[in-house]
């Protein structure tokens, strides 16, 4: 069922519609909140406040965006005010490694340790549950900014511009963070492929 149908049913008092929306989005809310606040417990509180705002219709959905973009905006507004109370610094470090060990390349910049093949990851033309599971674990291990950006862009399917607007990043910075996150996730999956090979 579509998010908007669930929202309408929820506003009509349907508990099941509410729990379905919670099941769809609570984990993403917590991940994104974690970008702003200093602990998992604070992030869970912010997610809970977000749901309360939705239940009370504090800011009503006007159909200019998708339900999830609207929901994420409520979350970010709340997380930002809690986050600034917790004095959390958010910065893109240009010197941070992109997640691929420099030793993978020789002095001439060519592969010394080539990519380990991804085997048995496609079934009927689609990625199978095995790689989806590996990717899910890898995303949960990313540093917070990468986790928020990869979750919003690649898991929830927002555009890079929407992600940048939501997190108040420049699009260029959002792309750098996305690149680093994807690089790490791929490398993490690769290391699992390697374990299996040996």
């Amino acid at each position: 069922m579509e998010d908007l149908e669930l929202l309408a049913q929820m506003l009509g008092g349907d508990e099941k519609a509410f729990t379905e929306l919670v099941a769809r989005y609570n984990s993403t809310l917590i991940r994104v909140a974690r970008y702003y606040v200093g602990s998992d417990a604070s992030a869970e509180d912010v997610a809970q406040e977000t749901w309360i705002a939705v239940i009370r219709g504090v800011s009503s959905f006007e159909g200019r965006s998708t339900f999830k973009t609207w929901l994420f905006h409520i979350l970010v507004n709340r997380a930002r005010s809690v986050g600034s109370r917790e004095h959390r610094m958010i910065a893109v470090d240009p010197n941070e490694s992109s997640g691929l060990a420099p030793s993978r390349f020789d002095q001439g910049g060519m592969w010394r340790e080539p990519p380990v093949p991804f085997t048995d990851v496609i079934e009927n033309g689609m990625v199978n549950q095995r790689i989806v599971q590996l990717v899910r674990e890898a995303i949960s291990l990313l540093p917070e900014p990468q986790q928020a950006v990869v979750t919003l862009r690649d898991v929830e399917g927002l555009s890079t511009k929407e992600v940048a607007d939501l997190l108040e990043l420049s699009e260029a910075n959002a792309r750098v963070i996305l690149h680093r996150g994807r690089t790490r996730v791929r490398a993490d999956v690769e290391s699992k492929m390697k374990e299996r090979e040996t």
Binding site: E15, P114, P117, R175, L178
Partner: protein, 87 residues
Amino acid sequence: MMLSSPDLMCREAVELMSDYLEGSLSRRDRRRLEKHLAGCPLCTSYLEQMRLTIAASGSVTPADLEPEVLDDLVELFHRYRESPDDT
């Protein structure tokens, strides 16, 4: 003799792949990357792995909620909900 931009090395090529998939590379960088990919099976397979990783991310479903978290939220739902019929 190199008159235009120098050829990419693999180390540089991998840094461009996420932006390449986003469609946000400059024309110049896109050409350099595609030229490199045409002659480099290893970077081509790296790019394919990036695509698989992104496709798999799009198939990640939310983790199951802990029952206590859900119970708390359901309680809040009933506490904060405005009755739709109280006009």
